[in-house]
Amino acid sequence: MMTNTQDIQFSKEAMEKVQKIISRYPSDRKKSALIPILHIAQAEFDGWLSPQTMDYVASILNIQSIEVYEVASFYSMFNLEPVGNCLIEVCRTSSCWLCGAEDIIDHIENKLGISVGETTPDGMFTLKAVECLGSCGTAPMMQVGADYHENLTIEKVDNLFDQFRNENKKSRYC
């Protein structure tokens, strides 16, 4: 099942982080480190987990590739397909909906010329509508990488997108 993982290598800093995380678990329970390592892998390799990346992670933890695939496909923060540089996740659950999340989503769709779930042709932005992110008291909100943007208004969204474009923002968690 293993595909060629030779071209994939963590940077030195990433590898140090990975080793540190592995050391947190009993030596016969290294698999516990899988989810944190997949986050690092996703940040290192273009914001998504290719089969090659997952095979590489499996080889580090000395587990079967399938064990990585089944975990990666379960959790919504892992992207199994390429995404734009900047992943925009707007919450649409109850409290955010009550405070106008649908207006925010519409506005971003119009602004970017794409629908929820799509990526702009230049590869800059991917737009997702997501479920409650624990920011209900500061609704509506969106998450971009690790950053929470709260109490959104149309104006605030416009300013943020200008800023993302200017700094060529990449959304990463690690």
């Binding site: 329970r29 698999k31 659950t93 106008g100 208004t153």
Partner: protein, 443 residues
């Protein structure tokens, strides 16, 4: 009833650092307890305090702790549940972000009480920046000798780690959380065995919510009996409430249990009333899974008594006319809110979050979501409302974990209390044209 135990120092600049936390009395309780109290004495104080789990179910913490199996030569674990994904709930995030050391101190105290030498804080992946704040606090605690080997010269060893999740509400369910912590899919386990006997890596484990563990610090500080005097009846102590929706002052509030609901909603000290001077229509009092109540029932019980913020008072009337305190996710809706659309957002959420192991949950919730979508779309029939009722009634008690119920209860309650609105959607849409099922920003 303003009484602050957990958030009393949350306004102090720099309270997230060890130095400022210590200047304000931080780690004094731990230092004193490690030197002067036995683990069993701490468990005893927690029992006396009457503290109930703040993660949602309200199970007495001291009792849970006393169930922990203690076989010789087998490690025990304490795992803190910081997955906080129940819609409407954001109090744990606030606590961890503002006063991370309170959780760290609570984890050390509780680990000592339970005899755990390795403990984990499992935090939802989206709270990545909060995980960093915790890591920093933990590093500081190691440097100060509160963590690691031979803590404060007492011979007690503890390693504390933060583990991030990756976006799955179900990992808040304690056995799914343990699976996730073991590096697997978050599929809840069949119980028994309970984690107290076979939890993380098959070893005895206690899983507690962030707020529960933080509350151990003031309990040990003042003693269980004193803590039990705060609050009302079996709802002892204070509770963090996440208030959101159509109120003037959304946010996290620490209340003394027993505060009247009406005061909480309308007083300037708390939510500050309904936005735009509108009337209130309904409240979801304890996170998305608890039954929604219309204004008359959230303010007063059917016997006409004022409803209080407590486990018992909110539960008064059972599911016919009452609800639950749950996680304290308090969502307020004004008179223009579409109850059907709100419910749809919940069903969509639960459908998305079902782990898929049990067919009533996996299929039933998706079915409910699609029917609600159809009703909102103007294609529904009266028979669809009965069908919704029928489906929700066939989920409860037939699944591995309570997520199925968490998805069914809101549907039952919305139909029970707002059936005319469901009917209007299918028979007379004109009559509800003032209801916003598409919610505009400007209020």
């Amino acid at each position: 009833m303003s009484k602050k135990l957990l958030l009393k120092n949350d306004h102090i600049p720099g309270i997230n650092t060890l130095a400022t936390y210590k200047e304000n009395g931080g780690y004094a309780v731990l230092t004193n307890a490690l030197k002067n109290l036995s683990p069993d004495a701490i468990v005893e104080e927690v029992k006396k305090s009457g503290l109930r789990g703040r993660g949602g179910a309200g199970f007495p913490t001291g009792m849970k702790w006393s169930f922990l199996a203690k076989p010789e030569g087998v490690p025990r674990y304490l795992v803190c549940n910081a997955d906080e994904s129940e819609p409407g709930t954001f109090k744990d995030r606030y606590l961890m972000e503002r006063i991370p050391h309170l959780l760290v101190e609570g984890m050390i105290l509780s680990s000592f009480a339970l005899g755990a030498n390795t403990s984990y804080i499992y935090i939802r992946g989206e709270y990545f920046y909060v995980a960093n704040i915790l890591e920093k606090a933990i590093d500081e605690a190691y440097q100060a000798g509160y963590l690691g080997k031979n803590i404060l010269g007492t011979g007690f060893n503890l390693d504390l780690y933060v583990q991030v999740g990756a976006g799955a509400y179900i990992c808040g369910e304690e056995t799914a959380l343990l699976e996730s912590l073991e590096g697997k899919r978050g599929n809840p386990r069949i119980k028994p065995p309970f984690p107290a006997v076979a939890g993380l890596y098959g070893c005895p484990t206690v899983v507690n919510n962030v707020e529960t563990i933080a509350a151990v610090v003031p309990i040990i500080e003042m003693g269980g009996e004193e803590y039990a005097k705060i609050g009302i009846g079996k709802s002892t102590g204070t509770k963090l409430i996440s208030a959101s929706g159509h109120i003037n002052k959304p946010g996290v509030y620490e209340i003394e249990l027993g505060l009247p609901v009406e005061e909480f909603i309308y007083s300037e000290e708390w939510c500050g009333g309904i936005r735009g001077g509108r009337k209130m229509k309904a409240v979801v009092a304890g996170g998305s899974s608890v039954p929604i109540l219309p204004t008359e029932l959230i303010l007063k019980t059917v016997n006409g008594e004022p409803r209080l913020m407590s486990y018992e008072s909110l539960g008064d009337g059972g599911f016919i006319s009452g609800t639950m305190l749950g996680s304290g996710g308090f969502i307020v809706m004004d008179e223009e809110t579409s109850i059907v659309k709100n419910l749809y957002t919940f069903s969509r959420f639960y459908h998305h979050e079902s782990c898929g192991q049990c067919s009533p949950c996996r299929e039933g919730i998706g079915w409910m979501e699609r029917i609600l979508e159809k009703i909102l779309d103007g294609r529904g029939t009266l028979a669809d409302i009965d069908l919704l009722w029928d489906i929700q009634s066939k989920i409860e008690g037939k699944t591995i974990c309570p997520l199925g119920e968490a998805a069914a209860w809101p549907v039952a309650a919305a139909i029970r209390h707002f059936r005319p609105e469901f009917e209007a959607y299918v028979t007379n849409p004109d009559s509800i044209k003032d209801i916003k099922h598409y919610y505009r920003l400007k209020n």
